[in-house]
Subunit: 404 residues, 2 copies
């Protein structure tokens, strides 16, 4: 017998893998490390002074309520101002009853999976896709069916074919998961005609679409792109929103916009999961929207990240000309493709030894793929670290190429 108790873990736990990105968060503690790995906003992008003022004002005005439990649905004035924000920026109408405030949009996706997925259920994703979504689906023992996206998103004909195959196999998918605006990791945006075609396929098979949109507001290519949900005449799109990239990720505030019954069920799931979201964050973000400050903040963030994107692409063009990429129209990431002889996964250890971190492409593929791809974050590092980090990465790539 063991000297102490050994728990037996659930099938779900045995099916989960630690996220490479989250594990690498720990690296950011090493001051020598230049990390292009995480999805962290730039420290200079937080509206520090303004948040501090709003916090002080909120405590002075609302007193103890700021530290009390809130309702599970979320602070009603925030649910209202989320509707205002989405209407103001995108012309998207919703009622507060369609909004559930969550602890970041990761929780919105998680709760939705909790109320939709049974073990073994099929979901369709883009290939590659957000690594946090892969973790989430795996934790529900879902079967992930990824569809190639190229530079324009899922091919509607391929999507239809895949759904038909799954239906014939008795595995009608529970939903299509998509990041249609500034996709993570590739940065692509699905255009309107493609969205309509995808919507028609979903409609034909009566499927839900889950639109994850953490980056849509951080678009700096001067195109006006609205959410996929704007064309949702049949109420089949669940929209997941986040304040992590526009205000602060540490405030853990996101939301879900869905049919009332779906909101109700996700609310019950949230009761058993974490009772309610952070109270002060909800007061503060409500105020930040209500005063209009969020609109200036979004413009400020866009400028900061556009400049950083340009710094990083300039450095890559000079230092690593073998790296191919599409210039992203917004967001926090660059998606690089290398010649076939570069394996970003096996190369990663060497990069860490040189104190530069990235996420290898493979992490974003639910199955095989991405061996010669990588995701670089440009929002977090300082301009000088971007230059220095790309230099280090260039050395690693050069060494790796010479080896062959």
């Amino acid at each position: 017998m063991n000297d102490h108790y050994t728990p037996v873990y659930s099938h779900s736990s045995l099916n989960m893998k630690s996220s490479a990105i989250r594990d690498m968060m720990k690296l950011t503690g090493n001051p020598q490390m230049i990390s292009f790995a995480g999805g962290l906003p730039g420290p200079e992008a937080f509206p520090l002074e303004e948040l501090k003022d709003i916090i002080d004002r909120t405590i002075a005005e609302h007193g103890s309520s700021v530290f009390q439990y809130g309702t599970t649905e979320g602070y009603t004035p925030l649910r209202e101002s989320i509707c205002d924000l989405m209407y103001h920026i995108y012309g998207l109408s919703a009622s507060p009853d369609n909004i559930l405030v969550t602890s970041g949009s990761q929780q919105a996706l998680y709760l939705l999976c909790k109320v939709l997925l049974n073990p073994g259920d099929a979901v369709i994703t883009e290939n590659p896709t957000f690594v946090g979504a892969i973790s989430c689906f795996r934790s529900f023992m879902a079967e992930i069916h990824p569809l190639a996206i190229g530079n324009s998103g899922m091919d509607p004909v391929e999507l239809d074919k895949k759904i038909c195959e799954l239906i014939i196999a008795g595995k009608k998918p529970r939903f299509i998961y998509t990041i249609p605006s500034i996709h993570n990791p590739t940065g692509i945006t699905v255009d309107n005609s493609r969205r309509k075609a995808i919507y028609s396929v979903a409609s034909k098979h009566d499927l839900m679409i889950v639109e994850d949109d953490p980056y849509g507001m951080i678009r700096y290519d001067n195109k006006h792109v609205v959410p996929f949900k704007n064309i949702d005449t049949e109420k089949r799109i669940v929209y997941l929103g986040s304040f992590s990239k526009t205000v602060s990720p540490g405030m853990r505030t996101g939301w879900l916009n869905a049919q009332e019954e779906t909101v109700r069920r996700c609310t019950i799931a949230k009761q058993g999961e974490d009772t309610c979201s952070h109270t002060m964050s909800q007061f503060v973000i409500h105020e930040f929207i209500d005063t209009g400050s969020i609109y200036e903040q979004i413009e400020r963030v866009k400028k900061i990240y556009r400049d950083k994107r340009d710094l990083m692409t300039d450095a890559i063009d000079r230092i690593i000309p073998s790296a191919l990429y599409e210039t992203p129209g917004g967001g926090l990431f660059l998606w690089l493709k290398f010649p076939e002889n570069i394996n970003t996964m096996t190369m990663h250890e060497k990069a860490l030894k040189r104190n530069v971190a990235y996420v290898s492409g493979n992490s974003f593929y639910p199955g095989q793929g991405g061996e010669n791809e990588m995701r670089l974050n440009f929002s977090f590092s300082s301009p000088s670290d971007i230059e220095e980090g790309i230099m280090r990465l260039g050395e690693v790539i050069e060494e790796e190429s010479a080896k062959q």
Copy 2:
């Protein structure tokens, strides 16, 4: 065909019921309503000024880090100060590697269930038990096997018998869930010899014990009671702690203290669920412990709640003498038993009409039971509302008794 898309929900969602308590949170918005229903701390109990000062200081000192993502495990200095706190108050030793910071202790329980429970798994609980735990277990499709507790906790002989029965039926329980110190809802505390006997039974069958302890620090009967985990020589107890009742529930900060492998698995589950806990809350609570302020705060809270408990028991003795109760040695609740002709569930609507709310006893029983019991919260209401609310409740009880 429907005019819009109708989702198909998961077995898990269909198995969940909304918590009566959470639903009644909404009632606290009605200014006429005196609610003894929730588990809300008293508004006067929050250390408002001090929290405000620490927040200002934290932002000044740590700047943007306060608004950034944190690691999933939690802010390391907080994990250390949680260990210090538990050692200082209880003599309980732990390493920060045993601690996972969670979004309230509800999430700690949830994550633990996520890594332990498969659908249909059996868990043993006290009867009655915490309604949030019932919700959580139901959401994992667990079979709940409640054991009567009387005034001293689960009977070790009955516990052993129940476990044997379950093993024979091929349903070895995954764990025993207990609130051994100031039990919710009954207020009882399991004494040391009973704990040892329960531990022996768990040891004999090699079972995990989950100790939920949100109220242990709010004990004002001058007894020194340490956590069940203090006798955990075999590392089979997972301890769930909370700052909701000592500092602030709106700050959504709790923790789990377990074996490293269990912490690691819960951390991976948390990655897919909500990425990380609220950053500023973790900085602030760390500071609140580190400066020693938490010890004064705990003493302050105890005095406030002891006074309110005395107010409520005095009012009940005068106004509703038919209500029986054991005076709780701490915590936020009173557990009342009425004559058999009183049905607290059917009576509830009448009480709401008179603008007084409680939780009917039945909510705390995973199966049948509690029809003539109710839980009253005394921490939230003002002294005058406690008196007035008990008056209203007395009228409802009188009317109900006369009916028969």
